[in-house]
Point group: C2
């Protein structure tokens, strides 16, 4: 898999922090096979080589995590010694191909402020008192190179750069620190939105169904321990970049301007019910208050253009390609790159066959 | 399993309707085992006996349905000839113990009208033009006899009698008739709601997360063909009854007062994306315009009491037991009975051990 900085420093496969019995530096993928979940793979820290995981799917691993830790550590060490087959990104599904729950909180308030201002909608009262969290669908995530099927261009397809935590079992009523300790994996998501459909759903006040098509994921899911300095226990400090047809749209600092950390968003979702292993909790679109970093979605860019009296940029059209990637301070690609091209609904089977 | 009318008429195990190659009269359960999905069982039409299914879980069956049809027909016929072990409702999980997607449409507008009037909230514009659909969590459903864990009585726990369809793969953009043909199973759900938490989430306009605790399911899932005259292709014509501590709350006619049928709600959810096999699509709380049938939730009863200047009934408290069941015209219990008792959060492990 291509990546900008191949010379990542060697790292210990497991931490020895107190209470971190389940912590292990790990990069996971799901390799396409005949089933809907693919086959679990573990990849080297340079994302170049892959070994089969200790169980069949990422979901099963999430359910049985502690019992697999010794084998996971051994596999990660084998990979760092050069074991494994070459990794081909085109053979991958989303690292979590489907999940039993998706919810997301609006962590980056500058995203909400710009989008709502452009629609003339009000901000929720006290937006930084508690996260605004919503449920989404998780029955299938698009693979990192899979086409995005769009039936009507006037639906206003937009990308949204989003980070998400995949958790183990979270007890009902868990406080934020306990919730954060349940994080098993981090993933990078394109939380696609149909802006032209959203307005009508927003008016109904029940959240978003038709305005949320299938989301896409970057190929690799990382454990917090594999993120090194980029993870401080509650936030990912990375540069999240996106391009449309090769043109940079944004290069956001995900460690800045977050009103809530992952633990707080997960605790919010778990206040009145437990969350089962495999639940994915997203941050909402990564956004910086400083507009000079650009934007993680077209809606924010359009909002700024409209404010400046300029013609707003177009939403995504058939043929457009979106690329999203996140890098740590050393310039290493953390999750690998996702690159998805928008196709017309009538071309979906043709494209599926070409894959 | 106890049921009111044991003398159900014999029925063909499969229909011979054109295009109904996958139609088979089937009653499914999930039997508790060490895993989260349980073990698929098929039960006799009198809900008294059970045989193991042709594959391990209901989710797998939903994904592979057509290939299992011949074996399913044979098993159903064996059951009608008296095969199978006695069925004990206490050994059952929810028939769908977890799912990759839950969404629900507000099908019965009298429910929305009464609830919103009581809160002073407005109805959506044109509520009968298209269904108001929202996403929910589906990472775990409570078993038919499992306790409902409640941390605070002032959260205002309410039951909600809801019907739901479990679908096979639904193509993106499927019209209502195609969507209806994707229905594999019908289930009866207690779509529990925390009314005291809902108001604050409703004000944010992003749907419901904290106000929706784990939902419960009646023990048996039925194929449309097993519903006989109670299924007309788009609606279930049953009497849906609920009791709180043995006191009747409502006995609703689910075939009346539905503004939309299942096909329309599923098609709404699938307008901009496919729905994967195992997706559950609910109807919202079953409700009749004629209040003399009672109510499928406490909120509607309270709304009427408040309008009449009476003291509103209390929401559910620790120790209360909710029973929900649905019967066809002949008085046969379609889904079996679910009976869930509210317990304090500190008693949850104690109760789990007693199970």
């Amino acid at each position: 898999m291509p990546r900008p900085a191949p010379s990542r420093r060697a790292e210990p496969a497991a931490t020895s922090a107190p209470g971190a019995r389940t912590a292990v530096a790990l990069r996971l993928v799901s390799i396409r096979d005949a089933g809907r979940d693919g086959r679990l793979g573990i990849v080297s820290s340079d994302l170049a080589r892959v070994l089969r995981g200790p169980t069949d799917t990422v979901q099963r691993l999430l359910e049985e995590w502690p019992m697999h830790v010794p084998r996971l550590i051994a596999l990660a060490e084998e990979l760092e010694r050069g074991a494994g087959a070459p990794l081909d990104a085109r053979t991958l599904l989303a690292p979590v191909p489907r999940a039993y729950q998706w919810c997301e909180g609006s962590t980056y308030l500058s995203h909400m402020r710009r989008c709502r201002a452009a629609r003339g909608a009000e901000m929720p009262s006290d937006p930084d008192r508690e996260p605004a969290v919503l449920q989404g669908a998780s029955d299938r995530f698009l693979a990192p190179t899979e086409p995005i099927v769009l039936a009507q261009e006037d639906w206003g397809l937009d990308l949204e750069c989003t980070l998400a935590a995949v958790v183990g079992d979270v007890p009902q009523g868990a406080p934020a620190d306990v919730a954060a300790s349940c994080i098993r994996l981090l993933v990078l998501v394109n939380d696609l939105t149909l802006r032209g459909v959203l307005q009508a759903e927003f008016a109904k006040g029940l959240g978003f169904v038709q305005s949320k098509p299938l989301r896409a994921m970057a190929p690799v899911a990382l454990t917090p321990a594999a993120l090194g300095e980029a993870w401080d226990g509650g936030l990912l400090h990375a540069r999240v970049s996106c391009w449309v047809n090769g043109e940079p749209l944004g290069a956001l600092d995900s460690g800045r301007d977050a009103a809530f950390d992952f633990g707080q968003v997960i605790a919010h979702a778990a206040r009145t019910r437990p969350l089962a292993a495999g639940t994915i909790v997203g941050t909402g679109t990564v956004s910086n208050a400083d507009a000079s970093n650009g934007f993680g979605c077209l809606a924010e860019k359009r909002a700024m253009e409209i404010l400046q009296g300029r013609e707003p940029s177009a939403y995504l059209r058939v043929g457009d390609t979106v690329r999203i990637e996140a890098h740590d301070r050393a310039g290493s690609s953390l999750f690998g790159s996702m690159q998805n091209t928008v196709v017309d609904i009538d071309r979906r089977s043709e494209d599926a066959e070409r894959q």
